[in-house]
C-alpha cells in the first residue's frame, strides 16, 4: 500500500519539476559492417541501423505512456566511425555521415552519435580521414554528432590532435557561418571519454560494448532545485551536510525511475540494458536549470565565488545517490554546465559573473567540461586548441572525463548574442583574455606524457 505522501510527492516531481527520462540511447555496433568498399560499409550500416532501431521510438513511446513518464529524446550511438570505416577516405567519411543522418531520420531519432575517433595516443588513417571530414559532415547533416578523444590519464594528451581539433572547430564554424557555427554544437573534444555515454553530442558505442545496448540518460535539475527549496523553506537552518543528503535522496529517486524505464525499453526491444547516466542536464526551459540550483544554495548567481565548492557538493551528492540506486550507473553522471542550454547559466555569463576561467575551474569538479560556450568568431585555431589543451589537462591529471564544446561564432564578438535554437538555446559570447598568445606553445605538438599516479599533491 502506498502512502498519501509517496503518491503526492511523486506526482509533484512529474508534474511540476520536470522529472523525465532525458534520453534513451540505443547503442549499435558497426564493427561487423566493416568493409574495404565504402559503399558496402554504408549499405551494411544503413540496414543494420534500420533493423536494430526500427522499433526504438515506438517502444519508447509505449513505455512512456504506460509509466506516465516522458522519454524526451530517443537517440542512437554507433561504434566510432573512424574504427568501423577505417579504410574510408575523407570524402567517403562525409558520405558515411550523410548515410547515418538518413538512417537516423528513417527510424525517427533526433540525433545519432559516433562520428568519432579515439586518438589520445596517435592517429590511424581512418582517424585522420574522419577528423578531416568532420566540418563538412556536421555542416551537411542535421542529426550526426561527433566526438574525438584526444587525451587520457593513461596516455597523456595528444597535442597534435588538440591542435587539429582547434582547426577542425574553426572550419566547422566557418561552414555553418549563416547559422552561428552550429556545426560546432555537435562536436565534442574529450579526455577520458566513457564508452557508454547516452547524452549527445558525446554519445558513441565503445568497442568493448555489446552488439547493441540500451543506455539511459536521466536528468532532473528541476527536481533537485525544488527539493532544496522545499527543504530550506521547512528548515532554514539546514547546513551543507544536510543539503547534500537531500540532493543524494533526490538523485536516488531519479536514477531508480531511469533504470526502471530503461530496463523496460531494453526488454521490449530484446536488447541488453547497459547503464543509467544520471546527469543534471538542463534545457533552455524555466525550471529545468542547473544554474538555478546554485541560487537555491544561497549564491547570488552561478559563477560568483563559492560556485566551485557548491558544484563539488552537488556533483558528489548526485553520484552518491545514483550509485546507491543502481549498480549500473555509467556515462558521465554528474552535473552538466552547458552555457547556452541553460537559461540561468547563459544569463550569468551575459552579466559577466561567469568567465571562461571560472567555467574552467568548475570543470575540475563537475562531470564534463567547457560545454556550449560561444566565443568570438575571430578566435584563432591556436587559441581554441589552447583552451582545449587546458581542459584536457584537468581531466588527465584528475582522472576524470572532461570535454570541450566550443563555438567560435563567425562574424560575432564578445558581448554579442548567438542563437542556436531548440535544446541548444542561445548564449552571449564570452571574452577570452590573451588571445593569439598561445600559438607557439600549441605548434610545438607531440604528446604530453601520462601523469604519474603517485606523489598525489
Amino acid at each position: 500500500m502506498l502512502t498519501h505522501l509517496e503518491v503526492l510527492s511523486t506526482l509533484e516531481m512529474l508534474k511540476n519539476e520536470h522529472l523525465d527520462v532525458r534520453t534513451v540511447t540505443l547503442g549499435i555496433s558497426l564493427l561487423d559492417c566493416a568493409s574495404d568498399e565504402p559503399a558496402r560499409f554504408i549499405d551494411r550500416m544503413s540496414s543494420k541501423i534500420g533493423a536494430v532501431a526500427r522499433n526504438l521510438v515506438k517502444v519508447c513511446d509505449r513505455v512512456a505512456v504506460r509509466y506516465g513518464i516522458p522519454i524526451v529524446n530517443k537517440r542512437i550511438a554507433v561504434s566510432p566511425v573512424a574504427v568501423a570505416a577505417c579504410s574510408c577516405a575523407p570524402d567517403r567519411m562525409v558520405e558515411v555521415a550523410r548515410a547515418m543522418d538518413r538512417a537516423a531520420k528513417g527510424v525517427g531519432v533526433d540525433f545519432i552519435g559516433g562520428f568519432s575517433a579515439l586518438v589520445e595516443k596517435g592517429f590511424t588513417r581512418g582517424d585522420h580521414a574522419l577528423i578531416e571530414a568532420i566540418p563538412e559532415a556536421l555542416a551537411a547533416t542535421e542529426s550526426v554528432c561527433s566526438s574525438v578523444n584526444v587525451a587520457s590519464t593513461r596516455a597523456g594528451i595528444n597535442m597534435d590532435a588538440v591542435y587539429l581539433m582547434g582547426k577542425t572547430i574553426k572550419r566547422a564554424a566557418e561552414l555553418t557561418r549563416e547559422r552561428n557555427g552550429i556545426a560546432c554544437a555537435k562536436l565534442c573534444v574529450f579526455a577520458n571519454i566513457p564508452e557508454d555515454v547516452p547524452f549527445m553530442a558525446g554519445a558513441f558505442l565503445g568497442v568493448g560494448e555489446p552488439d547493441s545496448v540500451i543506455n539511459v540518460g536521466v536528468s532532473g535539475p528541476g527536481v533537485v532545485k525544488k527539493a532544496l527549496d522545499r527543504a530550506r523553506q521547512a528548515n532554514p537552518r539546514l547546513d551543507l551536510g544536510q543539503i547534500s543528503e537531500i540532493i543524494k535522496h533526490t538523485a536516488f529517486k531519479v536514477t531508480k525511475v531511469g533504470e526502471l524505464i530503461g530496463r523496460r525499453v531494453a526488454d521490449d526491444l530484446g536488447v541488453p540494458f547497459g547503464v543509467v547516466d544520471l546527469s543534471l542536464a538542463p534545457t533552455p526551459n524555466v525550471g529545468d536549470s542547473v544554474g538555478e540550483i546554485f541560487q537555491s544554495l544561497g549564491l547570488g548567481s552561478i559563477g560568483v565565488p563559492g560556485t566551485t565548492a557548491a558544484l563539488a557538493l552537488i556533483n558528489d551528492a548526485v553520484k552518491k545517490g545514483g550509485a546507491f540506486a543502481s549498480s549500473y550507473v555509467g556515462g558521465l553522471s554528474g552535473a552538466f554546465i552547458p552555457v547556452s542550454e541553460d537559461l540561468n547559466i547563459a544569463e550569468s555569463a551575459r552579466q559577466g559573473f561567469l568567465s571562461i576561467e571560472k567555467l574552467e575551474a568548475m570543470t575540475s569538479v563537475c562531470s564534463v567540461g567547457l560545454d556550449m560556450i560561444a566565443l568570438a568568431g575571430d578566435t584563432s585555431a591556436e587559441t581554441l586548441a589552447a583552451i582545449i589543451a587546458d581542459e584536457m589537462a584537468i581531466g588527465v591529471i584528475n582522472k576524470k572525463t572532461t570535454a570541450a564544446r566550443l563555438i567560435p561564432v563567425p562574424g560575432k564578438k564578445a558581448g554579442d548574442k548567438a542563437h542556436f535554437g531548440g535544446l541548444l538555446g542561445e548564449a552571449t559570447i564570452i571574452p577570452v583574455s590573451g588571445t593569439d598568445r598561445s600559438g607557439e606553445f600549441i605548434s610545438l605538438g607531440g604528446r604530453i606524457p601520462a601523469p604519474t599516479q603517485s606523489l598525489t599533491n
Binding site: M1, L2, H4, L8, T10, Y67, G68, V257
Partner: protein, 183 residues
C-alpha cells in the same frame, strides 16, 4: 473447514480488535487476515478466519454480538464463497490520483468509469475537506487494469471524466511509486 469474513464497525476506541479476536480464539477460529481502518472517528475492521466444525457460523455471530453490542459496535459475519464469484483477470497495477475542488459525485463519477472498464480498485484513500485546496480534496485509487483493456482508450476516458468533474487526474504505473520510494 469453512472460511468466514467478519466486519466490525463503530466509534473507535482501544480494545476493539482485542474483543473480536478473544471471541474468535475462545471458539477455536484461526485468524488468517485482519485489516483495520479509521476514518475520522470511526473504526472499521475486517477479519477472515477459518471456522472449526464444532461451531456454526450463526452461533459464532451470536457470541460476537454478545460481546460487541455493549461496546456499541455492529458486527456482520458471513461465509466466504469460493464458487461462482468474480476472479481477477491478469492485470497491471496502476495508481489514479484525482485532485480538485470538492463537489458531490466525484467518487461516483470516477468509479463508474472504472467499473465500466472492468478496472478493480485494490486500495482507495479519499479525503474531501471542502474548499479549493487540491491537497485537501484528493482521491488516490490503487487499481488493477486488466491486460485486455486498451490503456490508451482507458486513459483518455479517465482524463475526459476528470475534465467533466473539474478534477486534475493522473494515471501512473505503480512501479514508478515503488521505484522512487522504496529502497
Amino acid at each position: 473447514m469453512k472460511k468466514i469474513i467478519i466486519s466490525v464497525l463503530g466509534h473507535d476506541r482501544p480494545g476493539i480488535i482485542a474483543a473480536v479476536s478473544e471471541v474468535l480464539f475462545r471458539n477455536g477460529c484461526n485468524i488468517e487476515d485482519v485489516s483495520q481502518s479509521i476514518l475520522q472517528t470511526e473504526f472499521a475492521g475486517v477479519f477472515i478466519a477459518s471456522l472449526p466444525d464444532t461451531i456454526e457460523a450463526g452461533e459464532l455471530s451470536g457470541r460476537l454480538r454478545e460481546k460487541l453490542d455493549p461496546m456499541r459496535l455492529s458486527v456482520l459475519l458471513s461465509e466466504v464463497e469460493s464458487a461462482g464469484v468474480w476472479e481477477a483477470p491478469l492485470s497491471e497495477p496502476f495508481v489514479i490520483t484525482a485532485m480538485g475542488p470538492d463537489r458531490p459525485g466525484l467518487v461516483a463519477g470516477i468509479t463508474e468509469l472504472l467499473a465500466r472498464f472492468g478496472v478493480n480498485i485494490s486500495n482507495l484513500k479519499a479525503v474531501f475537506r471542502g474548499g479549493d485546496n487540491p491537497l485537501e480534496n484528493t482521491m488516490i485509487y490503487e487499481v488493477d487494469i486488466p491486460l485486455a483493456v486498451d490503456q490508451n482508450l482507458f486513459r483518455e476516458a479517465l482524463y475526459e471524466r476528470g475534465r467533466e468533474l473539474g478534477l486534475d487526474v493522473s494515471l501512473q504505473h505503480r512501479e514508478i511509486f515503488e521505484a522512487i520510494h522504496r529502497v
